[in-house]
Symmetry: D2
């Protein structure tokens, strides 16, 4: 599989470059970045120094990319809005696209406009795109040549929660999800609030009460529950914690029927038992981002709280791998028929 990454200067893009360069079946033919044009990849991504990687960043000219015979699959690691500008012509030119932005994650153009403040440029593609969470959705190039790779927060919430809603093990009312994210989740932007001295020894919420990722979380929960796309509404509270990478999420959700930890364990076991990247922790252990950083794994735990009649679901993942570049590669692996974990830890 010959691939290209468009927009590889941010944290997700860089991670994707490293992962693709080590992939056993895919090759990275081209890497673009406006700001790094002309520079050698190994000079800009220090982890790669001395690897004798001949690649240089090129300027992403859409027409040229569309005609590039040498690339079959494009990964878009671009800001929201910009991604669609590339995705649409590439798809029209017959290319495959895995988009790491939010541009094609939603089904509903109205919801897109509500959360992103602009009309969607290609609403017909919203429905056609696959939501690239391989543990929850069947993926193949036949189903769609456009895969919208999920956000980091949505992954940490949907993996533990969606199947429990679908199986009516939990109620859809009164769900409260809290997440702590490492600072790389905010991107590689030179702004004051992301300076070391501002974020070190700092912790707190942001973007309350309506973070953009709520749109895809709720749409996915609704769709998976009963095919509607409108009716699950949850509370979601993102926080920044002083660490580079990782997300941990704790979800409080009322039980439907009996409150019984084994119901959750069984349901997760049935759904994820053969998946390489979902790991159920033994009772009494809790997810910790330190345990998953550098891997494509998501660790899960569940407690039944008899006092409140609620389950406490916890998850941890690396926001730049399972929450971004690693998951995109996992989707590629599935669509290509490679083993799901090829090139991933």
């Amino acid at each position: 599989m010959k691939t290209c990454i468009i927009g590889a200067s941010g944290y997700s893009g860089r991670e994707l470059v490293c992962l693709l360069l080590d992939h056993p079946y895919a090759t990275l033919e081209r890497v673009t970045s406006r700001s790094l044009e002309g520079k050698k990849v190994e000079d800009c991504i220090p982890k790669l120094r001395g690897k004798d990687c001949a690649l240089c960043f090129t300027n992403p000219r859409i027409e040229e990319l569309c005609k590039d015979e040498n690339v079959e699959l494009f990964f878009l690691a671009l800001p929201h809005g910009t991604a669609a500008e590339f995705a649409i012509p590439l798809l029209e030119a017959g290319k495959k696209v895995i988009d790491l932005s939010a541009d094609f994650r939603l089904n509903s153009p109205e919801r897109y406009e509500e959360f992103y403040g602009q009309t969607h440029p290609a609403p017909e593609w919203l429905e056609k795109a696959s939501y690239g969470l391989p543990e929850l959705h069947e993926l193949s190039w036949e189903i769609s040549p456009l895969i919208a790779s999920p956000g980091c927060y949505p992954t940490s919430i949907l993996v533990p929660l969606a199947i429990l809603l679908q199986e009516k093990i939990v109620k859809k009312e009164g769900i409260v999800a809290n997440s702590m994210s490492g600072i790389s989740g905010a991107g590689r932007n030179a702004t004051e609030k992301l300076l070391y001295c501002e974020r070190n020894e700092s912790a707190g919420p942001y973007g309350l009460p309506k973070h953009r990722h709520l749109s895809e979380i709720e749409e996915q929960l609704s769709l998976l529950q009963d095919g509607s796309s409108e009716d699950v509404v949850i509370s979601f509270h993102p926080h920044l914690a002083p660490m580079s990478r990782g997300i941990c999420t704790t979800i409080s959700v009322p039980a439907q029927g009996d409150l019984d930890r084994t119901k959750v364990i069984d349901c997760w076991g049935k759904t994820f038992g053969k998946r390489p990247f979902v790991n159920l922790l033994p009772e009494g252990e809790f997810p910790d981002v330190a345990h998953v950083v550098g891997t494509n794994r998501i660790d899960l735990s569940v407690q039944a709280d008899q006092r409140t009649g609620r389950y406490v679901l916890c998850s941890a993942e690396d926001n730049l791998i399972k929450g971004a570049g690693g998951q995109a590669i996992q989707s590629m692996n599935v669509c290509q028929g490679y083993e799901e974990s090829a090139g991933l830890l």
Copy 2:
């Protein structure tokens, strides 16, 4: 006011030493620590080096302390269980006691036994002790010579939440509180899980679903609501984040009646408007532990989430000051009739 700190080798005890040495009206006459006996205080607390503080740690012999004419008020910075062993004879000897442990925070001996796994050694003092949260309770030496200083998590939850329950602005069902604590909250214990390399770049929940602090949180919420001590039950999810100090808490709570941010603001304004250490943030700003570390302040914010019918209450405090030593001094200030903020930032 002549004071003594018993058990000053931990993080809270050390903070208390520094605060009392700089207090304008209180003097620190004596400091005890079994492990540091005989050492100069300024050699053990590096912040104090070069201050020419003549104090040395002594071994805490209870009989001797009870007879010490030179001390009127004892601060206990001891582990749970040990604190009661000191408090009871000191009180019987006519001394005043501010206890930073959990030994006298609850009213109900049954609840104590449920959460702490042992019979309470002096149940008669459980009812007599004042719960030392000056923003919520009237405190005076006449009311009680024993003040149980609240835990760090309970402070961060009770300050924003209790008054709203009392005023029926929020419902008591379905409350979910999530907290992130700095590592000093786990104490100064040489255990593997508290090593730098274990906690750095690490974040996750612990102690789910029934952390010990739940006992005092729920008892206080119940008592403040209607005088009963049994009926408010909440979900509480503590997490560790990789920072030395601070707690931030985010509480999701259903509105009672109209969901209206100004109702909360007004209620908080009326209750805390004249209190020096509760700070309401302007709309659109959120608490951050970096902003309160080193102070006795608790910062609060509130959002009304129309989508869920819930309020999102957020708070941040320094766990070792407002969540421990600072609050103990604040209680002393109030009982002594000093200005509430004497010796505190």
Copy 3:
């Protein structure tokens, strides 16, 4: 003493605001910042929230400042180059100035041009200014109304080293000084290299081999040694370490005559014994920035290395206090005849 801070938006400026607001004898009458004009000080410096500080940032108009009858002393917390533009008219208007920039730290205009790449705008003031290291230089408003407050690295090197050179206890050849600085030393600039994710878990040298601070380090060492300003040349290696504040410095210097630790201890004791902010550590202990952060103290240690015939001098300080704002206040205290430690920890 009525004071004003010009340029209070950076890390040093903010620290200075907090220190002056708590000073027992000085008042802060005015605070300027172009970027924060019109904003309340307590809204911009979160540590001050809720303090009811009425001050707002104003735009620094030089003419207006020169005529301000209400201010006697101006602290300049401005970038190099800009500081001189303010200092000169203020001095001409009869004001006192303590400048935290590098603009008046050197005697020699040639050296200024060599290290700062521009002609000095007021060379006549270079000689007139006092170098504001109170442990090494006599300071008074009569000697000079302009005090150039030293850099953070120079303070950490000059305090331990200068007197040993002057007393011929060490040789001037072959001196190697290595420093590790917290990130705040690089200022509050929104650049990529200062982002949390770039500096976290990162450590390394920068600015080798000729950091700008070498100019004042070598000039001071030369002047203190024998009154010349040219002849001591040292190796200086600054590094960034992943922490917010603090500098620790380790200096390797060949002994002159016998290598004998007590010679150093005695010399330091004689020089610094009565100074409140220089603290000699007991044998076997080493300076640590964690022990001095938040104070105006500098901790020192010395080892005699018989194998190499060299002394190893170590120091630690808070770069924003003893290395910046705290030292500026210490100089003010000395010039005003206040106790040297007034308003400082």
Copy 4:
């Protein structure tokens, strides 16, 4: 190659487990740890969770290990002193040994006794062992079946410095090396000084002036210079910095003959040009531990300081990989005739 790791509970041991499990040509047949006996490897090393690794820790019984037909090569990740107790019988039983401790790094039993405070248990093996720095020494099982893998600090100093001494490009007098190490360098010991809250926001020197690693640094420099083992004496100043992993070292060394940066560059190029793990940085860039963490690479830079007549050599490495487990595997690769970088990033 069938391997076993003895003592795999520490940070280096765990790293080695992960590296060997992914090695293309070696298999990990056995892992021992007294403290973790009976536990599954993937339950104790969270990075491995979900990998379906069947290995369990066993108790290291020397006799049993010596007879284990299934293992050809033993890696010892044991404390100094204990390693020799295992190495000697294993070697006598015909096994190959790569020892990560200091037990066989020196040639001279006197020097061992001077620095480690005890008589060496097998001085005949001191001379027979190879010092496992593949960039400086030829390694093969024929030369020795016992490889003493170098310490983390020595690696960071010897790689840049030794060849320059050997080629007479630098003088052997007046060398000063300063290092900053991440906290994992101090091991996984539950002691107070390694707690998160003690090391976070902390930086300073330790172990001055005669750290144990000086013994092997100086012996290697001497041997490589002229075959003697006694005459190079340097100043070495180790520091701890608040990060989990990594070492950066800055060495000041007087030039022999002309001071000329290209002489160093050429010498390094000739020596390391074909080695996969030594990377010379372009002029103006400096090593940073963040750039090498997770790899087996060491990054180098050099500056010529005309003012002092000295070179400034800088290096950065991952202390647990190039400074420990990775280097041990690199040595195995070389001895086995695998490509040098097999199984290493």
